[in-house]
Symmetry: C2
Subunit: 333 residues, 2 copies
């Protein structure tokens, strides 16, 4: 295992310290319990938005804390759920009197701990609602998950809900919006290589020299099947077909498309996959109205990519275009 770390037990803490030092204009790091919070939180009268999950998926979630997106993020240890006390403290820190939305990826530990935190906050008089993201079409149940896993749509939901909250949307409508985004978002990923959790010291799974894992989870959970490496156009078609047939998407739909790198994939390859996706969708008369190409929800140094498509209406597109100022996503400010 070769990593730019000191001791694997300190990697998350030290990385967060560097992250907070680099972005002190936007956010603050709180330790014990650990969360990253907007520098100007709480915003009086605005619904706060908190997300969180295991580390190793950077920039998600802490990289999306700032204006127009998340108010706080709770990072767990690598590939490990954060604890309820982190989520509770973050929720209290961003509560500006209008309640707090939790955006939760569908993993058993995350769900359980966010629920516990919500109960603790409710007992303290803070209204909390949760939106669960379960957009991965690859498998119905998985390691760590009952139902579908939550992946790329999380990024889009955080942007869109963040914009709505900044506009003054109340908690009930914000939760409904988050569920609408989840209901219209679908994702699937492919791994060309495994990744190594520092504390484990060895890859979480192995792949043959010309083998890939189609439908991989962001923690390396098994996908649909192992298959031989194929040209990018075939892999993109495989993922796109699984996504498009699932919702299903139709001719005339407009989508926000994300081609997301898993962490170890060059941008050159991601744009090449974007080209394939663009051609596939043109062929189906589906218009890419907005797009992200890059590393947004990663799996340490895993090679591979995922595709997320969100069937977007005018409201979602308008909210997407609103200004955002975070370490990892910024426009309009």
């Amino acid at each position: 295992m070769k990593k730019l770390i000191n001791d694997s037990r300190d990697a998350v803490r030290e990385s967060l310290a560097g992250f907070a030092a680099a972005h002190a204009d936007l956010l603050k790091l709180h330790i014990n319990p650990t969360y990253v919070v907007r520098a100007d939180a709480p915003i009086s009268g605005k619904v706060g938005i908190v997300s969180g999950g295991g580390s190793g998926h950077e920039p998600m979630h802490a990289g999306f804390v700032g204006r127009g997106m998340l108010d706080a993020a709770c990072p767990g240890e690598i590939f490990t759920s954060p604890t309820p006390d982190q989520m509770e403290a973050a929720t209290v820190a961003v509560h500006g009197g209008a309640g707090v939305l939790h955006i939760v990826k569908n993993y058993t530990g995350d769900i359980m701990n966010f629920e516990m935190a919500a109960e603790l906050c409710a007992a303290a008089g803070i209204e909390v609602q949760a939106v669960v993201i379960d957009d991965d079409v690859a498998v119905q149940n998985s390691l760590y998950t009952a139902g579908r896993r939550g992946v790329g749509t999380t990024v889009l939901a955080e942007k869109i809900c963040g914009a709505a909250a900044a506009r003054g949307c109340d908690l009930a409508r914000l939760a409904a919006l988050g569920r609408k985004v989840n209901g219209n978002g679908r994702s699937m990923g492919v791994a060309l290589s495994p990744c190594t959790v520092p504390a484990a010291g060895k890859p979480g799974f192995t792949l043959g020299e010309d083998e890939i894992e189609m439908g991989i989870g962001i923690h390396g959970e098994p996908g649909r099947r192992r298959m031989p490496l194929a040209p990018a156009r075939d892999l993109a078609a495989h993922m796109a077909e699984a996504i498009l047939s699932d919702l299903p998407f139709h001719a005339g739909d407009r989508v926000i498309a994300m081609v997301n790198g898993m962490g170890g994939t060059p941008l050159l390859e991601l744009y090449l996959v974007y080209r394939e996706l663009d051609e596939i969708l043109r062929g189906r008369q589906i218009a890419i109205a907005r797009r992200l190409v890059g590393n947004y929800i990663t799996s340490l140094e895993m090679a591979g990519c995922s595709i997320t498509l969100l069937r977007a209406d005018d409201e979602m597109l308008s909210l997407w275009d609103d200004p955002v100022l975070t370490p990892a996503l910024r426009w309009g400010i």
Copy 2:
């Protein structure tokens, strides 16, 4: 070799097509000769800025084409210089009557071809000046290079010169500014793994299981020495010491700092290295006035990172803060 490509001969062309499709609001792709150019070029009365070099270093350079940075970029094949006809055509396309600045990394092929293009443009009545970036302190001469290699300072020079050109700076002053940036910028990198040029099909070099290459070049050129993997704080100290002693930097200096990923390194590790760099510089009373942490000048899927420090004066910091709107760098717009 596992890559998200179709045929290795088409990888650059197909990736550029995807890049142009994704960023059609900002730029256009011209084919034969191949260059990426601002959608609104030429800007009348503004000095145009053109850079270029081998592909495989994305987002550099095409990812920096847009408002407030480059007017055009010429991508070569992977790790291969672009040709004079690409540079000439890009220069003609961005000439708005005030001349064109070439920002050239110090590699023999790039230098030779940009010089040839400048002569062709001069013959056609376009005034061209060139700034050569040679900021890599690792080695004095190298494969493909007489003198020092051009690396991370290129990104900073493109941002700062781009801002100055947008303000109306004339060609002579812009060239002087670019040379000032180069004169005050220093970089060094470390590789934890090699990378594979698609057409070659195998890694450009090999490293032992616990071995790293200190002072690596962005094409995998040999660095200062092979050494055993060490904690991030030792690697950061090694790079920082080489950089700081070279200029040399002094207590009281303000710097723009970049911790740059080589392509295959998780953001978690880059922020951890940034923390180490921050502590080292604090100990020397050197202030990080601005910073970039992420993948800006990469080497395909190589694992590792580089550090760039630019001793910045008020002019450079002010230009740094100016608005920029490109695929890879954006703020203030």
